[in-house]
């Protein structure tokens, strides 16, 4: 349509909105991810428990939050759950964060469970035969090894969460996508605002990707091609 007729001044007029949008997106992602990791740790361990009253709630939790769309969860939490409990809304940030935490915890739980289960049975047996209790063996022997295997999928989840946070636009959160929508609606132009939004998301995921590969490298003692290893070692 009008590929060549790009009006950047329009984006510049709304720079405040885009910058705030990036801040909100980052804050939502960070809060959602940290909360989701901690809760996911509990739920993931719960799914490994032999006790039925721990196992089944954890299992159904994952089934529900992984099995329903995040968009629906956001609407449910924002328009029904929170007003239902408190009598009034607590703002988009609270409902948005809560939805992201609950949703991300379900995915993280599965990553954590699979990571722990991927450690050979002999490791636990050896630790126990050295006199460690189940909990100490888990903390000192199993989890450190499992964590290394969890890093790549956990990183993946972080990137996915960053992008999924754009769904909170539906409840009028002032996030990055919202900024694009406001500009598009004010100007009836769609290339500039949405392309700007796409590029800004790309910048954010690129930076996150860099951090993830750094962390991955730090925790990895397995095979990495020599050239890449060198590249990272000069940097750190």
């Amino acid at each position: 349509m009008d590929f060549l007729d790009i009006r950047l001044d329009m984006i510049w007029d709304y720079r405040e909105l885009f910058i705030r949008g990036m801040g909100v997106t980052l804050a939502l992602t960070a809060a959602g991810y940290l909360g989701g990791f901690v809760l996911g740790l509990f739920v993931g361990m719960g799914k490994l428990s032999k006790k039925k009253w721990i196992y089944y709630p954890s299992k159904y939790y994952v089934d529900f939050f992984r099995g329903t769309p995040l968009l629906v969860q956001i609407l449910l939490i924002h328009s029904a759950l929170i007003p239902g409990i408190f009598g009034h809304s607590l703002g988009y940030f609270v409902s948005g964060t809560l939805a992201l935490v609950l949703n991300s915890a379900a995915y993280n739980a599965e990553i954590i469970r699979a990571g722990i289960q991927s450690i050979e049975k002999g490791q636990m047996e050896a630790a126990r035969s050295l006199g460690m209790t189940q909990n100490i063996a888990m903390k000192n022997i199993i989890l450190p090894q499992a964590f290394r295997r969890m890093v790549p999928p956990l990183g993946n989840e972080l990137i996915a969460l960053l992008k999924d946070s754009s769904l909170v636009t539906i409840i009028a959160a002032n996030d990055l996508l919202y900024a694009g929508k406001v500009v598009a609606g004010a100007s009836f132009r769609f290339w500039e605002p949405y392309l700007t939004v796409a590029i800004l998301y790309l910048c954010l995921t690129y930076v996150f990707g860099k951090i993830i590969s750094y962390v991955e490298n730090r925790f990895s003692n397995s095979y990495v091609p020599t050239q890449r290893k060198k590249m990272f070692s000069t940097r750190s």
């Binding site: 709304y14 009598g87 009028a172 004010a186 100007s187 769609f190």
Partner: protein, 265 residues
């Protein structure tokens, strides 16, 4: 062997997608072909709308698009002698759909504004609307100015959003602007906003349908009158003339007043 079958699968999927794409393309070109009226049958125009705006345009229990706007367009079509088919696009996708010729014209309580006229053409006005403020029953708000330092919810990218941006600043974080008018009203009910601002017809309809919710409406004469128009692609005078002809006819024979309850000059 596995790679071969995977490749075949991918190839067949992409062929399928391609086929769907071309089938859809030829479908729309057929439509535009018939809209030029080359055959003897009545011209059929594709009308785009955002059917989330009761009572103007919304979906009934059967999924049919109904409402005051829809009745008006049907009357216009009957008067001017063409057929219409309604398609639900949603508010934002409506504009590129019109630009790309997917729909022939749009009806969706679209207020005729200067900004919109830069990108699209409008028919003669067929409806007069006002912004109306909806507040909790115990609210002290008596005029629009009172909302200056309050949180206001509006449907995103509507004229309600525009007037609120004028009052609060165009990047104000006190504007709560969700996707639809029902969501905007629920933000006010849930206490996330002090007031909701929207077209009078919708707000009045909401109040009538929810008599148990403790809210009241606040009128403000400083709101400019808004005129709804049918929107066509810039420069599409052929369809614009047909629409204006129809609107003129239903204004003359009183059909428009029958539907909306008032005259539009």
């Amino acid at each position: 062997m596995r790679f071969l079958s995977l490749g075949l699968l991918l190839a067949s999927v992409s062929m399928l997608l391609f086929a769907c794409g071309t089938a859809k393309d030829s479908g729309t070109s057929n439509n535009s072909g018939s809209s030029e009226g080359t055959d003897n049958k009545k011209t059929k125009l594709i009308v785009g709308t955002d059917a989330t705006y009761a009572p103007m345009e919304f979906m009934d229990e059967k999924g049919e698009i109904v409402g005051i706007d829809i009745d008006i367009v049907k009357a216009v079509a009957e008067a001017a002698g063409f057929e219409v088919e309604f398609k639900n696009y949603g508010w934002e996708p409506l504009f590129p759909a019109l630009d790309g010729g997917e729909v022939d014209f749009a009806v969706s309580s679209i207020t005729i504004t200067k900004e919109r006229q830069e990108s699209f053409d409008f028919s003669d006005p067929y409806f007069i609307a006002n912004q109306l403020i909806l507040v909790p029953e115990d609210s002290t708000v008596t005029k629009f100015e009172d909302l200056k330092d309050k949180r206001v919810s509006v449907q995103i990218n509507t004229t309600g959003h525009t007037v609120t941006k004028k009052l609060l600043g165009k990047t104000s974080s006190k504007i709560v602007a969700p996707e639809s008018m029902p969501l905007a009203i629920s933000e006010m009910i849930n206490g996330n906003a002090d007031a909701a601002v929207g077209d009078n017809a919708v707000i009045i309809d909401y109040k009538a349908n929810n008599p148990n919710v403790k809210v009241k409406t606040v009128e403000d004469d400083s709101f400019e009158k808004e005129y709804y128009g049918l929107m066509v692609k810039k420069g599409n005078t052929e369809i614009l003339d047909m629409l204006n002809e129809g609107i003129k006819l239903i204004k003359e024979n009183g059909k428009l007043k029958e539907i909306t309850g008032f005259d539009v000059k």
